[in-house]
Amino acid sequence: MERIPILRIGTLLLVTIQVDLYDDLALRLQDDLSNRIAELEATGVLIDISGLEIVDSFIGRTLANIAAIARVLDAETVVVGMQPAVAITLVELGMSLPGIRTALNVDLGMEYLRQAATGENGVGTDHYAE
């Protein structure tokens, strides 16, 4: 059975989606990820979707669900590397994914999660000093 690998980096989990995400695979990923977060007491989840070229509303909702589940389990989720076409599709579908944090690439996402973990939540967040 095809699965999406989940890598552990310190207290973070890294998921790289390189194949087209079909419904079963997305649900399995959601399942695996929630188990791993609980098992490893992860503080952050990084989902790299730079290889993802096709999305539908179900995939969008699954991403939102993963972020919500992670938050319940006390981990922050960052979705990184979304392609322009994917972003346009999601917006046209009316899914702005308000609960999900995004970053341009894995580097920036990782930086954000590290800072979030150490409490100096200052990078790209909603509150900042002007």
Binding site: G81, P84, A87, I88, V91, T102, A103, N105, G124
Partner: protein, 294 residues
């Protein structure tokens, strides 16, 4: 029928001279197109009509055999569009072939009135069909010119500029319709990926009006940029536009807005951990009033 074409072949030079004289009499804008060019075009048309492939009849202009004539008419219409002739002038070019043709038929076909009338009728319809075709080609080539210009304008009007390492700006100029909004969105997102920029400033100083549709397009662009991990700042909102936005009840609460591009740029610098300071002792020179001039 065959007789008519044979007649045309034999009298081609005369027809051409009569036709050109007729054209000269009605021409209003002699400066647009040279006599030599008109003569060449007329000669080609006459030659093509009087030497059609076998089994091609004058009654059916849409048949396969007249393809060469249609192509030639298309070429003429393209050159007319380029020269700036009007559609009626272009059609006149063919209509003025009628009098010489009728004259020729009347002179040479003296058999029966019936035959004379039939040949005139056929010639008349054929020239009408050609004129319709050239008018249509004229519009077609003009549409092509318009479409190309529109495309060029679209490309011109959506430049994405890099203000700083990681800070992009897109000054939107002109009204945002759906096509342009799509172009703006695509070029901005593409630039975000290419330059790896975390901040994008959408400046709408050049947008004359903002209605609900334009606002929706802007919101979509900003949301898409956020999904990719870049932050969008909306700037250049003029006071009247701010009023319109509020009166229309458009919700811009989730969007960072600034009134000037400079403010948006300062905010982006600030958020990326940079500050702009003035060097000590290096003040902007104050222009002193010129001495000695009263």
């Amino acid at each position: 029928m065959v007789k008519l074409l044979k007649m045309m072949r034999e009298n081609q030079e005369r027809l051409l001279t009569d036709w050109l004289n007729g054209l000269k009499a009605i021409a209003q804008r002699r400066d647009l197109i040279s006599d030599v060019e008109v003569r060449e075009q007329a000669r080609k048309i006459l030659t093509l009509i009087s030497n059609p492939p076998p089994d091609t009849v004058l009654e059916d202009f849409s048949s396969e055999g007249w393809q060469t004539v249609r192509d030639q008419l298309m070429a003429i219409s393209i050159s007319r569009v380029a020269h700036g002739s009007s559609p009626s002038e272009t059609a006149q070019f063919l209509f003025s072939l009628k009098p010489p043709m009728f004259k020729l038929i009347r002179e040479q076909l003296t058999t029966t009135p019936d035959e004379l009338f039939r040949e005139i009728d056929v010639t008349n319809n054929f020239i009408d069909a050609m004129a319709l075709h050239i008018a249509e080609s004229y519009i077609e080539s003009r549409d092509k010119v318009i479409a190309r210009q529109q495309e060029e304008m679209l490309e011109l009007s959506t430049p994405v500029v890099t203000l700083w390492d990681g800070i992009l700006a897109l000054p939107v100029i002109g009204t945002l319709d759906s096509t342009r909004a799509q172009m703006v969105m695509e070029s901005l997102l593409q630039a975000i990926v290419q330059t790896n920029s975390r901040f994008a400033i959408l400046d709408i100083t050049g947008v004359p009006t903002v209605d609900t549709l334009v606002a929706q397009h802007l919101l979509k662009t900003i949301t898409a940029a956020r999904l990719m991990g870049a932050e969008c700042i909306l700037s250049g909102i003029r006071p009247q536009i701010a009023q319109t936005i509020v009166h229309l009840g458009i919700n811009l609460n989730d969007i960072v807005t600034r009134s000037k591009l400079a403010d948006a740029f300062r905010l982006a610098l600030d958020r990326s951990g940079r500050t702009v300071t003035q060097k000590p002792g290096n003040h902007t020179p104050v222009t002193a009033p010129a001495a000695g001039v009263s």
